[in-house]
Symmetry: C2
Subunit: 449 residues, 2 copies
Amino acid sequence: MAKVSSSSIVSPQALVGLTPQSGDLSAAAVPGISHFHLANGLEVVVIPDLRAPIVTHMIWYRNGSADDPMAKSGIAHFLEHLMFKGTTKNPLGAFSELVAELGGQENAFTSNDFTAYYQRIAKEHLGKMMELEADRMINLRLTDEVVAPERDVVLEERRMRTDSDPASELNEAVQAALFTRHPYGTPVIGWGHEIEDLGRQDALDYYQRFYTPENAVLIVAGDVIEADVKRLAESTYGMIAARGEAPHRKRPKEPAARTHKLVTLRDEKVEQPSHQRVYLVPSYTTGGKATGEALEVLAHVLGGGPTSILYKALVVDQKIAVAAGSYYWGQALDDTRFFIYAMPSEGVTLEALEEAIDGVMAEVFARGIDEGDLARAKTRLVADAVYSRDNQTELARWYGVALTTGQTVEDIQQWPERIDALSAADIKAAAAKYLDRACSVTGFLLPAA
Amino acid sequence: MAKVSSSSIVSPQALVGLTPQSGDLSAAAVPGISHFHLANGLEVVVIPDLRAPIVTHMIWYRNGSADDPMAKSGIAHFLEHLMFKGTTKNPLGAFSELVAELGGQENAFTSNDFTAYYQRIAKEHLGKMMELEADRMINLRLTDEVVAPERDVVLEERRMRTDSDPASELNEAVQAALFTRHPYGTPVIGWGHEIEDLGRQDALDYYQRFYTPENAVLIVAGDVIEADVKRLAESTYGMIAARGEAPHRKRPKEPAARTHKLVTLRDEKVEQPSHQRVYLVPSYTTGGKATGEALEVLAHVLGGGPTSILYKALVVDQKIAVAAGSYYWGQALDDTRFFIYAMPSEGVTLEALEEAIDGVMAEVFARGIDEGDLARAKTRLVADAVYSRDNQTELARWYGVALTTGQTVEDIQQWPERIDALSAADIKAAAAKYLDRACSVTGFLLPAA
C-alpha cells in the first residue's frame, strides 16, 4: 500500500543491518489462546489481551516473495500494494478511510514466506474489519488505471531503498550468491526489470491462486473471546467458498554448496566499510525445533549485543571493530540464513576483520561456549519474548509468522521451556555443524577505490 | 544417450578448461549452401560437400538447458538420453543398431540453447535416417521401465564428471554466481537433487512442448543436392503436422551486476591451483554482430594461444603462470560469458596472479592492442574457420549452433569479411566497455588448506 510502503517489506535487507532485531520465536506461553478452523479451511487463532478495549485483526496468507512465479519477482509485494485498490462494494480508499475515521491503524507487509494485512482498532469494530478484509479476499477489482501508477510507486520504492543504497545492493548480491537456486536469493521487492513487466493479469493470476480461505490464517489479538471471534469470522470469512485445498508451494531446492564466495561492492557513497558473512543453515521448520533453537541461542551468545562473544573479542578486546554481531533468521519455510556482521575500526581492513572473525569462530568450534554466557543468553531470549508480549500487534505477528512458516501454536507455547533445556554441548555442536566458512558467503562493502 | 554420454554435454565446464576450442563462428563462406522451410515450419539447410559419398544428417531443436522448467533442471539433457529409447515402429535399440549395421556414426548433444541429434553415414541412407529421426520427433514411447534406469545413468554421469571433480564443482559455482537469475547459471546436466526427481511425465511434457517441426532445424551436409534433400525431407519430416507456431522461449533476465564475486573452492584432490575470471557480456545475438565480433577478436588477441597478450605477459615475461588465456562464448541466445584463465607457477599465489592479470588488462584499457597482434588474430580466426571446413560434421554443427542461437545463414557467410573489417579501436572499446572487473566473477581453485 502506497502510504505505508516504507515499512511494507520484511526482508534480508532489513535484517542484516547493524541493529538486527531479536529473532526470538515466541511470546512464551500466552494463556487462553484458542485455535480452530472454519469449515472452508480458514485457520483462526485468538489471543486474549484484556488490558485495553482494542483488537489487532490480522489476515496472513501463506505466500510470499519465494512463491513469485519465474521471471515475475516482486508480484507478491506488488499485489500487497494493489490490495488497497478497492472492490465493487468498497471502492478505492473506502477501507482505509473507514479505519482512519474509526481511529484505527492499518498496515500490510510482505516477506519471503507470507503476506499479511492488519488493523488495530477499537474492539467494537472487529466485525466490520472482518467484513472488509473478507471482501477483498475475493472481490478485488483491478484496472490498468490503478495498476500502472502503483507499479511506478513500487519502482520508485526500489530506486529509493535499494538502487541508491550500496549496502542494500550488496545485500541483494550476497543473498543471490547464497541462494543460487532457491528464491530466497531474490529480493522481496523484486528485480527492477521484472517489476517493470508486472501487469494487471499477473496480479490477478497470483491473487486467484493464493488468496483463498485454505491459504489464510486469521489472527485476532485483544479484548475478545473465542466465541465472538468465531461468530464474526463465520459470518464474514466463513461465507467465502472453499477451494478444496491450499495452493501448493513448490520451490526449487538449493544444491549443496561447496565453495566460499566473497562479494565485494565498492561505491563512492560508502563512508564506513562493513563486513558480513552469511551461512545457509536449517530453519526451525527444515532442521527441526532442536536445531533451530540451538542456532537461535548460538546467534545470541555469539553476537547478540555488547556482552556477546564477537562483540567482546572484536570491539572491546582487539578494538578492530566498532560494531559486531550475529543473527539467525530462523522462522522460514525452507533453509535459511545465519548472519555475522562487523564494521571495522578506522584503518583496519576487511580482510583483517575477516581473519579475526575466523579466529573467534575457531575458538568457539574448539572450546564451545561458556556456561555463564549460555545462561545469560537463554534468560535474555525468554525475557525478550515476555517483554514483547506487551505489544499486542507484535504478539499477534509472532503467531502469524510461525503459522505461515511451518510451525504450530504448540511450538510457540513450548519454546521457552525448550530453550531452557539446551546445553552448551548442543550449541557447540550446532556451530561446528552449520557454520562452515568454506561454504558461506562473505560481503565486503567498501568506499570507491 | 547412454553409450555416448561422455560427449553429450556442451557446457561451460567443457569450455572453461585450459584448452578451450576456438570460439570462431563460421566455416567462412561455403559456396552453394541452400536454406528453406518445409510447409510445416521445419527449417532446412543443405551444405554441399562432394569430397566423399557420405552425409551428415543433423536435427537441431531450439531448446536447451536454459529452457528447463523451474526446479526441473537437467530435463533437456535427460530427454536427449531418452530419445534413444525407441518408438512403436522402431523399438528400443532399432535406430542405433541400424546406424551401426550401415557403418554409420551417431551422437547427440545438449547445451544451453539447443539439443541436437546426428548421424554420419553413406549418402544412400540419408532417407532412412530422416525417416527414423522424423519418427522419434513425434512417436517417442517412454515407460517407467526405461526412464528410471536412464535417470540413474545420468546421475552417475553427474557424479563422475562433476561431483568428484573439484574443477567442475568450482565452474558450476562460478556460473551460478555470474547468473543469479538467468538459467545459464544452471548446469546443463542439471542439479543432482533435481535430476533425482525427473520422471517420465516431465520428459513427455517437455518433449510435447519443444519437439515440433517449427522448433527444429534440419542440417544436411555432404554429397547431396538441394532437390534430393527437399524431396526426402518432405516425405519424412514433412508428414509431421504443424503445431501453428514455435514454442516460446521465455527466460528470466539478469539484473545489472554491481558487485565483484570471488568464488573459492579448496579440495584435497586439487594439485595444481587455477584461476578464472568470467565477465557477463553480450552474445552475437544480444549485442549485435559488431559487438560479438569485437569480443571474439579480443579474446583471441588477449588469450588465444602462446602469442597472445596474456600468455606473453604472464607465462613468458613475468613467468608467474604456466598457462593463461581467454575465451568468448559468443554463440548464445542471451547475454553470455567472456573467460580469462590462468594457472600459477609454483609458489605464486592466486592473489598475485589476479593482480598481474589486472595489470595486463589496465594496459589493454589504456593503450589498446597492437596492430600486428590484431592482424595475426584476424588471420588466424578466419584460417581456423577455413581449416575446420574440412570436417563435414563440424561444418554442419556451426550452422546448427548459429541457427539455434539467433543468427542466420547470412551472418555466417559474411563473418570472415566482417572480422577483417574490425579496427584496433573497436577492440579497445569493447574491452573497456565489457571487461569491468567490478562486476565480474573470479574463481580460485586451491588445494586443501
